[in-house]
Amino acid sequence: MEKINKKILIVEDDEDFLSILKTKFTSEGFSVVTAKDGEEGISVAEKEKPDLIFTDVLMPKMGGIEMAKKIKESDKKALIIFLTNMKDSDDTNEIKKSGEFDYLIKSDLRISEIVEKAKIKLGLK
């Protein structure tokens, strides 16, 4: 597998799903960093400067929405994609309406489709 010179941050509290994403993206040639909640996500994002961030919504300590807003504040160009199983709630509807972020539903997508979305977002396809 050829190496892709892009770094992806995955913020996800579900260890299994995190492991699946990490395995898949690594096997596709991305370099992958991870965080288990929003707080960790912010510090990893600052340190690692990822090209793209995938984040869950419901997480301990700090949720994905709050984290995404904070990262956007310090870096307006940050590419953040929500990847969650929360389809409709008042918070997520607000996020979807804002148009600032992509919003994907885990169970609607196969793992390879998630990789495709990442590649499109990064302009690799």
């Binding site: 799903f17 699946i20 994403l21 199983n85 409709d88 169970s107 196969r110 793992i111």
Partner: protein, 561 residues
Amino acid sequence: MISNFYCPGNPTFLNTFDLSYAPPLLYYAYVLIVVIAILFGIYVFVKDKYSLQSLLIFALSVVFSLWIFNMALQWLTVPANFNHFEWQITAFFEIFIPIFPLYFVYVFLNKKDAPFAWKVFFGIIILSVFALLPTKWNMQSFDVENCQSNLGPLLKIIYVFELLCAFLIIYVCAKKFKGTQKGDSLRKQIVLLVAGTSLFLIIFFLSNIFGELTQIYSINLFGPIGMVAFLGLMTYMIVRFKAFNIKLVGAQALVLALFALVGSEFFFATGAVSLTLIGITLITIMIFGQILVRSVKKEVEQKEKIEKMAKEIEKAYEVEKQANKELEKLDKYKNNFLMQVQHDMRNPLSTLMGYADLLLEGSYGKLAKNAKDIITKMQDIIQNKIKDVNNFLDTEQFKMGKGVVALKPGVDISSILEEIISALNPKIQEKGIYLRFERPEEALVITADREKLKAAIFNIADNAVKYTEKGGVAITLKKEKEKVRIEIKDSGIGIPQEKIENIFEGQFERTQLAQKAASGSGVGLYLSGQIIKLHNGKVWAESAGEGKGSIFYIELPILKN
């Protein structure tokens, strides 16, 4: 013995009273005042549910009437011994007149009975006045020839006590007034209370003092006018803030006072003609008075009924508001619960699917072909489950009214149908049935929430494909006036008549819901129906019966702008 002595005057009435001696005010004001006082007292007492405060008003009106009656007797009684007694007893009636208003003010402001110490204090004062009645404190001497008494200091002390009570009432009310907010109804009541009671006591005090100082006792007669002001204001207050109507008592008072006034003419009139005339007048007053009182009573009763109803409606409204609040809370709770559920139900499925994908891709080592087949089968099962869960959750959200469509103009309905058809194609080929699509030449553009409408129509078409094993499905798009109509006709198993009516209603029992979700239909149709309704559209089904296929109709308005 002074029993053989007589005051000036001719005791023409009952051999005791000289009715011509008294000033006219006695008849024309006092009779009226006594009647009004007693009536107000009774009215308030009965209307205010026999409460302590109205009992006190009633008691005051009785004592006051006795005071007036005694005053009148002083003017009219000719035998000196009776007259002497009437002079003597005055102080006893007088002492109640400041005490009752003070007691009343306390009860009214504090909404409770006065403390025991107050009552003991009142009791001591009343008893000491009673004890002092036969002494020189009350009456120093009595001029039998003129029936004039040389009063002792007792009555003057009582007058001062009256004034003190008036100031005490003003002080207590002012203190309470400071503690209230602007717009508080208690504020108005306090103003009325202090105006009524202190005005009464001060007028009463002044008339007594002036009468005493000038020795012109006619001045004393003006004092009771303050009583009218007092009773009027008190009654107004109690009645106003208890939402009763004073009209009735007003009418009754008017009739009775008129009756009393005309009746008093009997004592002066001479000659058969005048007496007859007065008699006729009295009867007329009685009849018309009765009619007046009755009609006012009816009106008052109606008003009270309406007020009662209004109160009940208000109460019901409060209950409803409370219930709505509870519902909102429940709704929020359910929403939170549902959020958690969608997360928790989908998450393990996504994880299973992800692991299965990675297994197939060989991320965890190479797999034998039959192992790959099994994993692919597992993925089908997982995929179905994901669909069921999605359907279930969407349905729950629609049931909660959470499903909202964002209607946008310029949606090409043909392109939606084409996308649906291409999505159904793999299934069609697998089943070996046909799927036809007929559409008009012109582009049909409607206002819609593209994604939701597509999902709704897809559900119906998918359902048709699912239940068709032979033949196929034909989808037709037509324009009909201001509407577009989509017909989805299949040659499948059909729908039994008893189910066709509410096939889109989604009135499933829990167990049914679970069953339907398991088979992947029904729930989806409910959702489709809801989405189409939100587009101001109509959806219904027809079927010739079981095994004879069915047609689903969808009608959507073509909205201009």
